[in-house]
Symmetry: C2
Subunit: 370 residues, 2 copies
């Protein structure tokens, strides 16, 4: 979150927003510390773990909300859009905490995942019974607390009412993410099925768990706040935002899936082939299943999700995805989504700074290596 070199008005504005967001985040945790201390100072590791995890990340969602707000007439750096951004980022932190339990991930943002941190604390303090159980239980509670805090921050937006479109979007976003996340874990456990069905499910997971949540809803939420829109009121700008940000989010997640298999550990902060070990069912794995021989498919099915996946098998799976043309097909889909997003972006009636900022966000989301 160090300020970027601000060579143009949009970058300067982005830097200022990120600084305000960080200040608000620090103030928020300082206030919560005052509330938790009377319960017992023994509860502070819960707060510390959330504060630490929430300090990282690219802030993609908050930035989309900010520029959505600015593009719809929102008056720059207001308390409302800073709070909205923090609320969305805390929601993301909560989702990561529980995702890492569900996926049994050891690392997050280049550090141990939260359940692993609590597990280590259990060992360090010579606590009794199972360190692993204590780690998971503590991380469940940390995620719950962070989820409530996200909502608490969102509800503190001064102009928000029960009828605000922004409230409606925030609520819908959360239901869709959790439903999409459940669909994701169902995909990992259903018995072997037609690859077309797996592809359909993977596309739904991308859309609801990721694209709408990471891009479409944050941008629209910022836009709705900027226009002080009531639920049900039509807004052609919001419609335009959505037709741009949905394919952007789909491309973003497809890129994430490719990085989960082919990404470099140094840049992703995750072990090589991590998604293969977790058994994630993605568009990439569905394409692979559709394009390989029956024998190769059996190998794919039995390897995905095997916890003891060795480096040689990971390389073999990577080769299968590359040689079958599945990687190429996924890259083609990313290109298609990118073009769709960028052509829709060009159609938006927004001022040039906002246009430039959104173009840069889109470029980073689609062409990243981490």
């Amino acid at each position: 979150m160090t300020p970027q070199q601000a060579s143009d008005p949009a970058s300067l504005e982005t830097s200022r927003y990120l600084e305000a967001l960080e200040l608000e985040r620090q103030r928020f945790f300082a206030r919560q510390r005052e509330i938790m201390l009377p319960v017992s100072k023994e509860t502070l590791p819960l707060l510390d773990s959330i504060e630490s995890l929430s300090s990282g990340g690219k802030r993609l969602r908050a930035l989309l909300a900010y520029w959505g707000y600015r593009g719809s007439g929102g008056a720059g750096l207001t308390p409302s859009i800073v709070k909205a951004g923090l609320a969305i980022e805390l929601f993301q932190t909560a989702a990561l905490i529980h995702d890492d339990i569900i996926d049994a991930s050891d690392t997050r943002r280049g550090a141990p995942s939260l359940h692993r941190r609590f597990e280590a604390m259990h060992t360090d303090l010579s606590y009794k019974t199972s360190a692993e159980t204590f780690g998971v239980s503590s991380a469940i509670l940390a995620g719950d607390l962070c989820l409530s805090w996200s909502e608490m921050v969102f509800s503190s937006i001064p102009e928000l009412t029960a009828q605000s479109e922004a409230r409606f979007i925030f609520d819908l976003m959360r239901t869709e993410v959790m439903a999409g996340q459940y669909l994701d874990i169902v995909g990992e456990v259903v018995p072997e099925e037609e690859p077309e069905l797996a592809l359909e499910r993977a596309l739904n997971v991308i859309r609801f768990k990721s694209a709408k949540y990471s891009c479409e809803h944050p941008l629209a939420l910022g836009g709705a706040l900027g226009q002080d829109l009531k639920h049900g009121e039509p807004s052609s700008l919001l419609h335009g935002y959505r037709t741009f940000a949905l394919p952007l989010g789909e491309g973003f997640q497809l890129r994430d899936d490719v990085l989960g298999v082919f990404g470099e550990p140094e840049t992703t902060g995750k072990p090589a082939g991590d998604d293969l070990r977790e058994g994630k069912r993605t568009v990439l794995t569905a394409f692979t299943a559709m394009k390989v021989s029956a024998q190769e498919r059996a190998f794919l099915e039995e390897s995905l999700g095997s916890p003891q996946l060795d480096p040689a098998t990971i390389t073999a799976l990577q080769d299968l995805m590359r040689n079958s043309g599945a990687l190429e097909a996924t890259e083609a889909m990313i290109s298609e989504k990118s073009e769709q997003a960028l052509s829709q972006l060009a159609e938006l009636s927004i001022d040039t700074d906002v246009m430039q900022a959104l173009r840069e966000i889109a470029a980073k989301a689609l062409n990243r290596s981490s």
Copy 2:
């Protein structure tokens, strides 16, 4: 939730409120079904499981909110107090879902706990990989979804703003519950310590995880809604509510702890001595540690939380708690809290129906067998 025999105005009003609450609950789940269906019909087990669990329970918290509202001038059966009650009950449902994972509880409200339901579904549908892992992962997501829904319902209260005292109470309540719950699991894992420290922690757990959450905050929240109170505005009625409902909640939880050890499975819906098997550290166990010999204390420490606790050891632990005077000391504390609560209740300036309703709620909470 069947309407009670309504022999007096307060009981009639209670029945009407519970009916309205149930109707609102059913309408809410019907609406959420419409939102989840487009994600995929495969996601509906998530909703079904929450809907089913939320249909049970004593509605203690919602009823306290209702009568708090009525006592402070709230106009009876308004959409606001129905929504507030549903929000609190959904929060309770979410807390139970995650508590049962943390405590590895197999049953809840006389039926399998949510992670066990999803585990059974995994087996029934011949899903791959670990049924247990799928059960826990699904229940983590179900709890998250239910937590968001609780908030969604709360935020739909029409007159609520960012400055409402009711909003402040709802937020504080959630932070305190989760911090208290974390303190509870810390109590189960810390190495052997002075019983006085264990007692102090157990009293904090009772206060923050349970008494404030189950009694004090719901009653105050209803009162704040009824007065349309802004945060920071003084209210002698709310102060009175709190001095009544905090000891009520403490007595309620102490009764719960006694039932967790001595309760009958047929009435509690939980196996005999369930809290002993879970290793719950309560005021009762702290009193026991303070009152027994070193040898008995070693037996207590090694038995609490042992998953293979046999019926004979459970009986031996029950005898230890009874014969040491720890049970008696706990019962004395329950009596003291009861008297404190009831004498504070008598001081409140509320109309006779409200007084009668609160007196009945208090009696049920303190003298229950399930």
